[in-house]
Symmetry: D2
Subunit: 104 residues, 4 copies
């Protein structure tokens, strides 16, 4: 990795966005797909919001505070669902969401 330093919050948002994208994708391939509906939907939402949140921080947007608050909510909401599933990708995604919510 290069030398650019991002804030812990930006890094948490980046990681969470990609973890959620990855989890939604993995959920779509699970045998018990019926049980994963809610998880997929929350992951897709959270991925988009975290992605915007990381970007807004780099832009020093005047709306960083609002988007961070929304991001924390979306992360908690996603973690609540992901943490109920035993798949490793869900557990890892729940961890990424909790960390991102804490940073935001």
């Amino acid at each position: 990795m290069n030398d650019i330093q991002f804030s812990d919050c930006t890094k948490a948002c980046m990681s969470c966005s990609l973890a959620c994208t990855s989890c939604a994708n993995a959920c779509l391939k699970e045998e018990n797909l019926e049980m994963m509906r809610e998880c997929i939907q929350r992951c897709l939402d959270c991925a988009d919001i975290c992605q915007l949140c990381a970007r807004m921080q780099q832009k020093e947007s005047p709306f960083v505070k609002e988007i961070c608050e929304l991001c924390a909510k979306a992360c908690e909401y996603c973690a609540d669902e992901c943490s109920q599933h035993e798949h490793q990708h869900c557990q890892q995604c729940a961890d990424a969401c909790r960390e991102c919510a804490a940073e935001c």
Copy 2:
């Protein structure tokens, strides 16, 4: 940071996308703004393409190869411009672009 592992290419795309966003934002505040027109435009393009590229990798998209090739081109194109400016953000962005182009 949590335990989720992303590939070196995904990490390079994430970093490059945010470095480009950050560089465009910093360029907009420079005194010699006239000279930064091209840099801002290339950074904004590169930021969007890298962001999509990282996401497509997490989705295991069948179009990963095509988007990676396009991403490498956009990174080289952005680095060619950024590397000509002495601002630290431009030099760091050029490095991030070169690394991302190499990974892609």
Copy 3:
């Protein structure tokens, strides 16, 4: 709607991106979810690529040609799957994809 004019291609990309997002969301709620796995995945891919394609056109990016070619491929690929499902959202999404592919 206001007076700003977008090109037919930009409008087709916008519409297709949102139709794909909407179709993926509706698929997630269908009873025969097992059969919709592939459709959801292709719609999510196509939504992201179309969204970028519309944006790159507005930016007059030097990479418009490449992203349009990729967009046309993703649209055809999504339409091939969507058109096989009888749900109205799938049929409408397939139409939006075919139109976007033609414009690109």
Copy 4:
């Protein structure tokens, strides 16, 4: 255009996102670039937020209300700046922002 119907709010968000992207791009080419710094920055912010807002509506996200409120704020903030510039792209962008703010 195909037969898919989007809500007036979704259409306003789509149009505004692309109008802002287009305006930022046109501003970067203006002679009086010094005066356009703030306009470019606000347009780039507004473009990203409107794009997310349109998408969240198609996903029937539980966070639609929050993102719409944020979107309305970003649109007003962008319109306040754009409306002060005589360039046609700025005036059209200001109109798109005001309309999007009203719909949201």
